[in-house]
C-alpha cells in the first residue's frame, strides 16, 4: 500500500516541475527579443517507479533537462552565408563611394574636361596669334590636371577609409575570438555535470555568426571535444580555450596585388609567416581588401596610366611645334618619369606656367599664323593611344568608369540576392528557435494549471494524513 508520505513527494515533484517550466517560460518571454536567443523547453520525465508487490507505482515527475530548440546545421548555414553578406556589404559601401567620384551625370568631370582642353586648343586654330586664347587654354589644362589630382586624392581617401574599416573589423574580430574562447571555457565548466548550457551556447553561436560576417571561418570540434574556429584555408583562431588574434600592419605599396602605399596588411599571431592578407577571402575583411586592392587599386592604376600617357603624348607632339615666341622643344606638361603616381604629379610645365605664349601652334618657326600643330593635337583626342593602341583617352577613361560601375552594379545585385538568402534563413531559424508569445502564454496557463493541480494533490495528501491522525482521538 502506498504511504501518504509518498503522495506528498509525488505532489512535490509536480510542483517543482511546474515551477521549473513556469520559470523557463518566463525566461523565454523575457528573452523574446534577445538577439540569437533560442527558446527553451523543459524535458520532463517520470521519476523511478517503485514496486509494491504486484503493483508498480509511479512516484511523480522529474526534470531531466532544460534544452534549447535549435538546428545546428541551420546555424552553420547562416554563418556560411554571412561571409558573403559581409563581403558584399562592404564592397557596396566602397564601390558606391568610388563610383560617385567618377559620377558626372550632373557635373563637370574628367570626361568633359578632356574634351574642353582639346576644344580650347582647337579654338586657338582660328587665331593662333592670340595670347588671351592661349591663357584660357592654359587655364583648361590646369583645370584638367586638378581634376586628375581630385580623383587621385578621392581614391586615396577611399582607400584610407577602407584601411580604417579593416582596422576596426580586425578589432571586432579579435573581441569575438576572445569571447568565443572564453565561452568555450564556461560551457565546458557548466556542462561537466551533464546537460547543456543553452544560453551560453546561444551566445557562442551568435559570436561565431558575427565572426563569420567578418571573415570566412570554418567550424569543427576536435578529438578532445574542443570547439574550434579556423580562418578558412589559413589556420586556427580558436581551439577550445586557446586563441590567436589577428593584427594589422602598415605595408609598402605593391603593384602586383594593387595594395596602395601604406595600405594595411592583416597578420595572424603564432603563424609563420604571419601575413595572411592574400589568403583572406570573403567576409567583411575579404570585401574590404578586394575593394581596396583590386577594384579601387585598378581604377587608381588606370588613372595613373591615363595621366602618364596624356602628359607624355601631348608633350611629344608639343615639343615638335613652334610657339608665338619662336620657342620650340618645350614641354606642355611637366615631364613624368613613371606611371606610378602620374595622376598625382601631372601639372603644366614651368615654362607654360610662366608664359602662355610658349604654347606652340605651328610647325614652322617665325610663322605666327601657322596652326598646323593644332591639327596633330586635335587628332590626339581621337587617336588610339591607350591600352596598346586600342583605345583613345576618352575610351580608356570611360572604360575605367564603366568597369567600376559594372562591378558596383553587379555587387548591388548579389547583395540584394544575399540579403534575401540571409533574411530567409533567419526567418527559418526564427520559426524554429524564436519565441512565440502566444505559445508561451498558452504554456503559462497550462503550467499554472498543472501547478494548481499539484498543490491540490498535496492538499489532499494533507487531508488524508489528518484524517488518519484524527482516527485515534
Amino acid at each position: 500500500m502506498a504511504s501518504s508520505v509518498n503522495l506528498f513527494n509525488t505532489g512535490k515533484s509536480g510542483l517543482f516541475a511546474s515551477r521549473t517550466a513556469l520559470s523557463t517560460t518566463g525566461h523565454n518571454i523575457a528573452n523574446a527579443n534577445t538577439e540569437g536567443y533560442s527558446r527553451q523547453r523543459v524535458d520532463q520525465t517520470t521519476s523511478t517507479p517503485i514496486g509494491l508487490g504486484n503493483v508498480v507505482l509511479g512516484t511523480g515527475t522529474r526534470v531531466a533537462n532544460v534544452r534549447r530548440i535549435n538546428d545546428d546545421f541551420l546555424n552553420r548555414q547562416i554563418t556560411n552565408e554571412m561571409k558573403h553578406f559581409g563581403e558584399y556589404q562592404e564592397k557596396d559601401v566602397a564601390l558606391s563611394q568610388t563610383e560617385n567620384i567618377f559620377n558626372e551625370i550632373d557635373n563637370d568631370g574628367m570626361n568633359r574636361l578632356i574634351s574642353k582642353f582639346f576644344n580650347e586648343y582647337r579654338k586657338l586654330a582660328n587665331e593662333p596669334e592670340s595670347e588671351s586664347l592661349r591663357a584660357t587654354l592654359r587655364e583648361s589644362a590646369i583645370q584638367l590636371t586638378s581634376d586628375f589630382h581630385r580623383i587621385n586624392r578621392s581614391l586615396t581617401d577611399v582607400q584610407r577609409n577602407i584601411d580604417r574599416r579593416i582596422s576596426a573589423s580586425v578589432g571586432e574580430a579579435n573581441d569575438l575570438i576572445q569571447r568565443i574562447a572564453h565561452l568555450n571555457q564556461e560551457i565546458k565548466t557548466m556542462e561537466l555535470k551533464g546537460g547543456e548550457a543553452p544560453d551560453l551556447r546561444d551566445q557562442r553561436d551568435l559570436a561565431v555568426k558575427k565572426l563569420g560576417t567578418t571573415a570566412n571561418v570554418s567550424l569543427a570540434t576536435n578529438e578532445k571535444g574542443d570547439f574550434t574556429v579556423s580562418l578558412a584555408g589559413v589556420g586556427p583562431l580558436v581551439v577550445g580555450t586557446q586563441f590567436n588574434k589577428l593584427y594589422v600592419e602598415s605595408a609598402k605599396g605593391d603593384p602586383e596585388t594593387g595594395r596602395p602605399e601604406g595600405g594595411l596588411k592583416i597578420l595572424l599571431e603564432n603563424l609563420a609567416p604571419p601575413n595572411v592578407t592574400e589568403r583572406i577571402s570573403g567576409g567583411k575583411l575579404g570585401g574590404l581588401l578586394e575593394s581596396r586592392d583590386k577594384l579601387i587599386g585598378r581604377a587608381h592604376e588606370r588613372l595613373d596610366e591615363l595621366a602618364f600617357s596624356f602628359g607624355s603624348k601631348l608633350n611629344e607632339v608639343h615639343r615638335a611645334g613652334y610657339s608665338a615666341r619662336g620657342t620650340t622643344g618645350i614641354d606642355f606638361f611637366a615631364p613624368l618619369t613613371t606611371k606610378r603616381g602620374a595622376a598625382e604629379f601631372l601639372r603644366i610645365s614651368d615654362a607654360v606656367a610662366a608664359d602662355a605664349n610658349v604654347i606652340a601652334t605651328g610647325l614652322l618657326p617665325d610663322s605666327p599664323g601657322d596652326n598646323r600643330l593644332i591639327q596633330q593635337i586635335s587628332n590626339l583626342q581621337h587617336a588610339k593611344t591607350m591600352g596598346g593602341g586600342v583605345a583613345t583617352f576618352d575610351d580608356f577613361y570611360n572604360a575605367t568608369v564603366t568597369e567600376l560601375a559594372t562591378a558596383s552594379h553587379r555587387n548591388k545585385h548579389v547583395l540584394e540576392h544575399q540579403t534575401n538568402i540571409v533574411t530567409q534563413l533567419e526567418k527559418v531559424r526564427e520559426s524554429i528557435s524564436g519565441v512565440s508569445l502566444d505559445e508561451e502564454t498558452t504554456n503559462l496557463v497550462q503550467y499554472q494549471h498543472a501547478f494548481d493541480a499539484a498543490a491540490k494533490v498535496i492538499k489532499v495528501a494533507d487531508e488524508i494524513l489528518e484524517t488518519v491522525l484524527n482516527m485515534r482521538a
Binding site: 551625370i105 582639346f118 596669334e129 610663322s367 596652326n371 559594372t406 508569445l437
Partner: protein, 332 residues
C-alpha cells in the same frame, strides 16, 4: 509552419525595407528627373552618355570653328571681289587705250593716273588685315605680306581648321594664289590648265622656289598682278601700245584666276555649312538617345510611384493587423 513573434516582426520589417527602398529610388528619380543617377544604375548606358557628351562637346567646338572660319572666308571673298573689280577695270583701260582709234597720248597720260590709283588699291587689298591678322600673308600673319613694289614677304601657308572629326578646311588664301598665276608658256598652252593647278598645289611648301625651268620640263612663266598693273601704267605713260595690248591677255588670266579662287573660297564655306549641318543632325539623334538612356519616363515614374505607395500602405495596414493581437488580449 511555426510562426514566432520575431518571424512576423521580421517579415513586416523586410517588406517595409523593400518598399521603402524602391520608393526612395523613385523619389530620387523624380527629384533629378533622371533614371540614371549613378553610373552603376546602367553601366553601359553611362558609358554611352559619356561618349555622346564628348561628341557633343567636340561638335560644338567644330561648329564654333566653322562659324569663325566662315567669317574669315567672307573677308577673303570680299577682298577677292574687289580684286576682280580692279582687274576688270584695268582690262577695260587696256582695251580702250591699246587702239589708236579711241585713245590718244593725252588720254593715256590721264588714264595712267587712274591706273596708279588702281595699283595703290591693289596694294591695300594685298595688305588687308582682319583684326591682328594679315589676310594674304600665309602663316606670316603679323607682318605686311607685300612691299610697295609688290614683292611678297609671306609664305604659302594655308591655315587648316577642323570642322568635323578629321576634316580640315583652309581658312586663308596665301597671297601668291590670289595675286599670281603660274602657267606654261604659250607653246604648251594645250596642257596648261591642269598643269597650272598642279603647280599651285605643290607650291604649298613655303620658301621653296617655284619649279625651275629645267631642260625637258616645259618652261613656266609667272603672271604677277602688281607687275601687270605696273606694266600697264608704264605702257600708258610711255605710250607703248604693244605693252598695253600684251597686258590685256594677262589681265584676262588674272580675272579668270580671281573667279576660280572665289569659287574655291565659297566651296569651302559650303563644305563648312554641310559639316555643321551634319554635326547638328548627329547631335540631335545623340540627344534623343541620351534622353532615352538617362531621362526618367514620367508616365512610368508616376505609375510606379503610385503603385509603390499603395504597396507601402497595404503592408503598413497588414503590419498593424499582424502585430497587434496576442493571446494576452483575450485572456483578460
Amino acid at each position: 509552419m511555426r510562426v514566432s513573434d520575431n518571424t512576423s516582426a521580421g517579415s513586416v520589417k523586410d517588406a517595409l525595407r523593400r518598399t521603402r527602398g524602391r520608393l526612395e529610388r523613385l523619389q530620387i528619380q523624380n527629384a533629378t528627373q533622371k533614371k540614371l543617377v549613378t553610373p552603376s544604375d546602367d553601366p553601359a548606358g553611362n558609358s554611352k552618355i559619356l561618349d555622346i557628351r564628348t561628341q557633343a562637346t567636340v561638335n560644338s567646338q567644330f561648329a564654333n570653328n566653322g562659324a569663325m572660319a566662315k567669317n574669315r572666308l567672307q573677308f577673303a571673298d570680299t577682298a577677292l571681289n574687289e580684286l576682280y573689280d580692279i582687274f576688270v577695270r584695268a582690262k577695260e583701260i587696256a582695251i580702250n587705250q591699246s587702239s589708236g582709234a579711241s585713245a590718244s597720248v593725252d588720254s593715256r597720260l590721264g588714264v595712267a593716273q587712274e591706273v596708279t590709283a588702281l595699283y595703290q588699291q591693289l596694294l591695300s587689298i594685298a595688305n588687308r588685315r582682319v583684326g591682328e591678322q594679315y589676310l594674304f600673308g600665309g602663316f606670316k600673319t603679323l607682318s605686311a605680306p607685300y612691299t610697295p613694289t609688290g614683292e611678297y614677304r609671306g609664305d604659302n601657308g594655308e591655315m587648316p581648321i577642323e570642322i568635323q572629326k578629321g576634316v580640315y578646311v583652309p581658312i586663308n588664301v596665301p597671297g601668291p594664289v590670289a595675286f599670281q598665276i603660274q602657267r606654261y608658256k604659250s607653246e604648251d598652252q594645250a596642257r596648261s590648265p591642269a598643269a597650272v593647278d598642279k603647280t599651285q598645289n605643290s607650291a604649298a611648301a613655303p620658301g621653296e622656289p617655284p619649279p625651275s625651268e629645267q631642260q625637258g620640263v616645259p618652261s613656266i612663266e609667272t603672271i604677277d598682278a602688281f607687275k601687270e598693273i605696273d606694266a600697264l601704267r608704264v605702257g600708258l605713260l610711255t605710250n607703248d601700245t604693244i605693252t598695253i595690248r600684251d597686258t590685256m591677255e594677262r589681265l584676262d588670266e588674272l580675272i579668270k584666276n580671281t573667279i576660280t579662287v572665289r569659287a574655291k573660297v565659297s566651296a569651302r564655306s559650303n563644305s563648312i555649312d554641310q559639316a555643321i549641318g551634319a554635326s547638328e543632325k548627329a547631335d540631335l539623334s545623340n540627344a534623343e538617345l541620351a534622353t532615352q538612356i538617362e531621362d526618367a519616363d514620367y508616365t512610368e515614374l508616376w505609375s510606379n510611384l503610385a503603385k509603390e505607395e499603395t504597396i507601402l500602405r497595404s503592408s503598413l495596414s497588414a503590419a498593424q493587423k499582424l502585430i497587434q493581437p496576442t493571446l494576452l488580449d483575450f485572456l483578460k
